[in-house]
């Protein structure tokens, strides 16, 4: 098959897919096209979206590829759908960070770090499907072990858990005042 033709098909697949499509699934569908070529075409598509001033981006999240809107257009998309903000509190976000970095982790272990009951916060995270029970710990009482979900990766634009930024060493904070909190702002983004 011609390269341009494969590229066109790939774009259609990405357009109709609801969840991120894995490279393996793409290979299955495009039976006979080499993995290397698919990867190079995906790269090409990504560059075209990014450099062409388009409103769509090709993102690599949760172990697959997904078309997403350009972040600078967020306000307009929200306006179109009249999306109401649904908030995650700071406590929820911090608990999520602890689960993400220390998974699998029990509720008691999270509470040891946060120094406060996290039952309600954990319930919120499970309800939002950002966190789930992954196993039971083999200690008396067999407490649940929590871990993050594929939805967590999707929500935070992460390809996989190894993409989580490394935790800073505690010693870095010991010498200086804690860094200042940054209010959410659409200007400051990680590379996504």
């Amino acid at each position: 098959m011609e390269r341009e033709r494969v590229k066109s098909i790939l774009e259609s697949l990405l357009f109709v897919a609801v969840e991120p499509i894995s490279a393996r699934r793409i290979e299955e569908v495009l039976d006979g096209v080499e993995r290397k070529e698919i990867a190079s075409i995906l790269d090409e598509l990504r560059n075209e979206y990014e450099s062409g001033g388009r409103g769509i981006r090709l993102a690599e999240v949760a172990g697959g590829y997904q078309l997403r809107t350009a972040s600078e257009n967020a306000d307009w998309v929200k306006k179109l759908h009249q999306l109401k903000p649904q908030r995650l509190s700071r406590a929820t976000l911090e608990t999520l960070a602890i689960v993400a970095y220390r998974q699998p982790i029990t509720r008691a272990e999270i509470e040891k770090i946060r120094g406060v009951d996290v039952g309600a916060v954990l319930a919120t995270l499970v309800e939002r499907r950002l966190v789930r029970v992954v196993a039971r710990k083999d200690v008396p009482g067999k407490p649940f072990l929590y871990g993050t979900t594929p939805e967590f990766l999707e929500t935070f634009s992460l390809k996989d858990l190894s993409q989580l930024p490394t935790l800073k060493e505690a010693e870095q904070f010991a010498q200086s005042p804690p860094p200042e909190a940054t209010p959410p702002s659409s200007e400051e983004k990680a590379e996504g």
Binding site: A74, Q86, L88, R114, V116, L167, F173, E180
Partner: protein, 253 residues
Amino acid sequence: MTFKVQQEVFEGPLDLLLHLIKKNEVAITEISLAAITEQYLATLELMQTLNLNVAGEFLVMAATLIHIKSRTLLPPGDDGDDDAEEDSAGDLVQQLLEYQRFKEAARALESRELLRRDVFTREAAAEDREETVEFAAVSLFDLLSALRDVLARWPADTVHEVVLEKASVRDKMAFILDYLRRCGRAVFQSLFDEATSRLEVVVLFLAVLELVRIRALRVWQEVPTGPIELELAAAPFIPPEAPEETGMDRDGT
């Protein structure tokens, strides 16, 4: 005060300590813990006055802090100190440093491109309407610090006047909503400009908390130590520099 606003507090004593450490611009050390003990206790007292659901952990921490502080006041070099005591302060410092790392990690996560806040997929539009992820920028302790500043303007109520206060939380909620409808946005402190007593300040503050809880109010802070701003959450969403001239109608809210 008979009103009861049960505000759930998901933030713990460690959050309060880190908040005070940041506010005082000190490093996380045993000495700075001793230095902020009084502020910790004052905040705790305020939380109890406000009927906030103060978890037992806050009281345990208060005891730990008082203990640490008392040790710093004793002349050093005494053999009376045993190792266990030495550890309680060191452990707390370690725990704070560890927690600080996760707070930092949470901020890093928050600054990523978030699905349904910054970026959208087709699926999100079809199924998850009314769901966009957003994070409350101001913590309870920021608000409590601001309240302490406001209360500092009034002397402590030493005389108990028997005057029927007209201010109920419900009235104040209506007042705040009305005020914001007129002004659009307000600096937190400015709400209290016309308050006449500490009680009224406290009632106003509870009204703010309740409005935040029912999500009628958004609370923002542009910079970490800057003024806290309030605005109506129910206001129709208007993006900055939105192309209003397109004439598209967005009614139905």
